[in-house]
Symmetry: C2
Subunit: 236 residues, 2 copies
């Protein structure tokens, strides 16, 4: 049995907050739990926000923004190493971390104040590790964000930061009941855990974390392992 428990009663997160300590005070974590924390809360605690009125849009922003806000487009470009697709001002970008997502993860919703944009953490794996250390219990930590996908509508939450958990489960070489050897069976369990936690979070009610209990994925790993190596990527 696996259970997903929302972490309720957290205060509004401010820059400088020790998110791990706040969560440890609000929730009863047990060894073996996986704690999933929404990126927005992590970014706010780390002060990864920009004021829109401090952004000066450049030429590329002018060219790409369409009907959208020029300064927000500039913020997206600042967070990106490459624009993968664009249409009518909507940008799908590769971030400095190597994630490909809408708007390079830059978002105006749930910002600390109106007129602010929230950016992805500089190093989400380090964020996960930092949270993990201040929790006290032997848990895995995932920093999650909502990503869109080609060909399918809607977002699902995925892992952009991981600590204390192997993000991929490799069934390679194991055999099914008929003796057929499974190959290329690599399961992105960290992404499935992030999505499961999302089901228990309430984006509108300041529940930015959930505990997934009863899993059996220990070990060590990070979210960089989830990025498709360039040479295997058919969609660059």
């Amino acid at each position: 049995l696996i259970s997903i428990v929302p972490v309720e009663g957290l205060p509004a997160i401010r820059a400088g907050d020790d998110l791990g300590a706040l969560i440890a005070a609000a929730a009863e974590l047990r060894d073996g739990d996986v704690l999933v924390v929404a990126q927005k809360a992590v970014s706010k605690a780390e002060g990864r926000v920009v004021r829109m009125d401090e952004i000066v849009p450049g030429e590329e922003a002018l060219r790409l923004a369409g009907d959208r806000d020029l300064r927000q487009t500039q913020a997206i470009l600042d967070e990106s190493v490459r624009i993968v697709r664009e249409r009518d001002g909507f940008l799908i970008a590769e971030t400095r971390h190597g994630f490909v997502c809408g708007s390079a993860g830059v978002d105006a919703s749930n910002a600390p104040e109106a007129g602010m944009l929230v950016l992805l953490p500089l190093d989400p794996d380090a964020s996960a590790e930092r949270i993990r250390r201040s929790l006290g219990a032997r848990v895995g930590v995932i920093v999650s964000d909502s990503f869109g996908r080609p060909w399918r509508l809607g977002t699902t939450d995925v892992a952009i930061g991981v600590a204390g958990l192997r993000p991929l489960l490799d069934l390679e070489g194991r055999r099914d009941p008929t003796g057929y050897e499974l190959h290329s069976t690599l399961i992105a369990v960290a992404d499935e855990i992030a999505g499961a936690a999302e089901l228990a979070m309430r984006k509108l009610a300041q529940v930015p974390a959930a505990i997934v209990r009863g899993l059996d994925f220990g070990g060590e790993g990070n979210a960089r392992e989830l990025i498709m190596p360039r040479q295997r990527d058919l969609f660059r």
Copy 2:
């Protein structure tokens, strides 16, 4: 609290089996549960398998197969309306249903016998509805399959068939705590539920179903809603 309960003790699934009745006998379903059933089990119950030695590869298979099995490549082409990407015999295809996935969902693992390939159900939404009707309880049903994603390693389970459940949660127009109106916030909850259930399934131990309990997504819907409309698709 959300819980994920594997459905254990199911027999090996054979063509003609009433999968809903088998699951209802093995598990205690409650009103409001979402039952997730792995596509492989659904396809086997529906007899959606082909014997490799009955497949005659054509010219396109010869051209595309690379080092891979010619007859399996032909089976993939038979299930596809369009090849989206190909490299060294690995095909990413659009299926007749409109799903884009590796090998058009054709798979040799967990087949009823060696030398057989399992195909996706002809109409997975109808499969989900059929299972739902034979369960007795007022539950949602998802038929799940493991899909790869561009840019990210590993598969996550997604919903290819849905009944008794709205697959998308639309937060459009709702406001965050600072008053910012959320737009384009569409969450693919059916895919997150499918992924959550995968965490409790054991691909190698004949546990092809899991119950997700404690969700609050009722209504009606189908998995076709999860397919990105062609005119919005930046990755055709």
